[in-house]
Symmetry: D3
Subunit: 188 residues, 6 copies
């Protein structure tokens, strides 16, 4: 039955404030067995001239670009082979781990590894979920894969899950699991 009140400096856009309200509601519901209806969230906005921390006026922090949207955008760029666009979304120490433990730091290496495995591959995304980790946010994307093997055999409905780690608006890490091997669709 909690009431959650947030004192926030003026200047955040509506989408950011709504997202904050949703996440605070979720935080309460995950902690206390309350019906959603019993959780009230209100943001009290304060003018900059009426806000001080450490005896200093403050400016609103930058809104955090939604990590889920970032990762979906990244997957779309990769599927479209727009590598430059994808590169703009990753941290300098970005790292990828694929089924079987294959690890890459460059998209070029990844593509070389993938070439003998499938001619074409795309994702049907069923679920995108965020786990908040303090400074970082993990984004879990799951669904099914479809495509064509090098010999032209099509495949579809292959379960996959990706875990991304994002921080400060970029992706620092991607890990991939799928059923390609289980279904005899991998190289091994």
């Amino acid at each position: 039955m909690p009431v959650i009140q947030v004192t926030l400096i003026e200047g955040y856009d509506e989408a950011t404030r709504r997202k904050l309200c949703e996440r605070l509601t979720d935080a309460a519901m995950a902690s206390i067995q309350a019906p959603a209806d019993a959780v009230t969230v209100a943001i009290m906005e304060v003018a900059p001239a009426g806000y001080m921390r450490g005896r200093m006026p403050k400016m609103p922090g930058a809104p955090v670009p939604p990590p889920a949207a970032l990762c979906l955008d990244f997957l779309a760029a990769l599927e479209a082979r727009e590598l430059d666009r994808a590169k703009a979304m990753i941290a300098p120490d970005f790292q990828m781990t694929f089924p079987g433990g294959a690890a890459f730091t460059s998209f070029e290496d990844l593509l070389a590894w993938a070439r003998p495995r499938y001619q074409r591959i795309s994702k049907t995304i069923e679920r995108v979920e965020e786990a908040l980790l303090g400074e970082a946010v993990a984004v879990y994307v799951s669904g099914t894969l479809q495509g064509e093997r090098p010999d032209g055999t099509p495949f579809e409905g292959v379960r996959f899950i990706d875990r991304f780690e994002t921080q400060a608006g970029v992706i620092t890490r991607q890990e991939v699991w799928n059923d390609m091997g289980e279904l005899g669709l991998s190289l091994s």
Copy 2:
């Protein structure tokens, strides 16, 4: 730079209140690019005689058992083959999906499926993360598998990830991905 104040009826234990404070901090940090240090959370506890919603006094809702702990406990029960203990943690419509899409609703069916695949299997858990979904919480558990194949060949370091969905203190769904197939360790 937000200050988050929660008005809460008295009676929640310390662990629940601390967890709530952490989750609210995470909710703010995931929404606004603020250093952790700039996020203050305070719970103002209110005596039952000073709390009304709908012109009716209220009691504290039950604390929600931490979903992460529930899922780890479930995995431990399963690994120890304590099926009754595991059954006490699942919802009536509980469903499991394993690599290759194998779906089960009973542990007995699962064990029958697993028997020809490995003699012994256990998990080294590296990461447990919660994604808050409103009424439900998804718990992602990942790490590596080790064990022995039916012919006695040992294996280890096999990447896995489990996604659980929990609601109202029980597990409603488990989905599993791993590299067994990719590494030629599956039946297929």
Copy 3:
């Protein structure tokens, strides 16, 4: 010595907010023996993008038309024999009870009952008071009656009191007491 703070979604007009402040002050003064001066009320208005209950944005509820004004308006319409105007202010199950227990649901029946009792009657209103009943509000109107009996004899200064019950902007019930009988001015 209470401070009363109301978190309210933006969009209520000034009159509604002032009325709310007055009623909250009265609620405090009626409960705690504090001088008016010690009661502070402040309404913190929150933008719709910063307000959620049940994880859903909310709109301001409609302001409640002041029940006292509604009842005075109704009495004026009735005195002016503007029956259509009066009918627009009553609920479908509206009921009137007059001295001696005479009960009516239509104005026409009421007028037929009144015709042999007085040629002309009007009210001098001295006091209008509201009792808040949760969903409903009772309005008490009292003062004196003046008019002319059927035989032309004038009368004045006859004490009366009306109790109205209002809900959701309409009148559901009217009860009337007066001294007409006591003073030998009634039919009986």
Copy 4:
């Protein structure tokens, strides 16, 4: 959808705090067309060492004895002819007005006036409602009268309404209307 938070110095008993919560809920519901369920009230109690107004510590004001209970108690005392008990509940300038405008300041005068009117009279109370007037509270008591006329004729079901005005724990004024005259039960 208002949240009402009251900052109150510690020390008020539970009944007073609950009553305050109810009255604040009523104040909101009478002003804004919100379902009761959408009104949350919370009293934040503050230790005396953490409360100052006018740079001075404060003590909790005396709770106001519920005016409705006071008036019912007064009526019971009067009906039982416990005049001393009734006198302890009235202000020095207490005044009563009865049907026909008969006004009294002493119970003895009232009883002298009533004696030729009825041998015995008692009230069946159907409704007690408070109207908050700032410093004062009006209490409306209504229902029916039953008793015996001086000649032994019984009567019952006679509609009555009393309006009391209370302030600072005592009754300052009582006004009475009833259907005795209308029903030919009065002297006139």
Copy 5:
């Protein structure tokens, strides 16, 4: 680690609100050994229609002209011999006390007393500090004096301190101490 929230009626200018935030921060830091960074101040501004004390709407009080600026302005006016300007800044019962206990209520008397002491004198101000006294504010100004004695001998670096008392925008009192006597620069 305190969070200080001020509910303030709308209408104070930015400078006043910033000054208030600074002073509240100082009040916390002087009372609790907290790093400045741990003190958050937020002013929640409330529209006049949403503010009542004593069941009456309120207007913002006049901002208090900063006492330090007032006293510096007064010293400048005096040094420039703009006596009318200085007179506009003092209360009717203004009083000055100078080294040796010389007390004056008029600038003319002061100047007569000063004439044989120095031909010319001016202040180098090093520090201006305010002590808040409730209704009044004391302003301490200290630094060094320089000038010329009647015989033309120059002097400089002579320590002085002035204490002013201000209230409601005017100066009620000035007290002066300095090292003129100690250094053999006074008449005595």
Copy 6:
């Protein structure tokens, strides 16, 4: 007309909380021309399990020993020639400046300087005022001196003022002005 609410972790003693309330009242009164009566301060105490900054629980900071009391205590120790007690109240870089600009860092040097000036000296303290400077607090002590000159001549009523600077519970600096020179009581 401000309401000042402080969210504070539980555990500060009553004296500290009262002092904080007084200082916050003063901060408001010095900024806004409000009567003291219109300033309400309330400290909402929060249990440690319900308080987090930077996603970490916090402990109450140490209360700051009242700077005014510290300086008076220091003056008493010095007057009683309890040099060890006085030394315990000063910072390592403590510095004193006396009339004429005489500067000392050790009490022994100070006493050597004072010996030829007066045989005995004591203070009558009339006023102690604090100016809050963020991390530091300046304390102004003023009144009159009395004592005996080396030749046995008594003196009294000599105006003095001391400015102390304190930080983190110790005195970092003392500056002294008085009328000894002006009155021909100094050596010069």
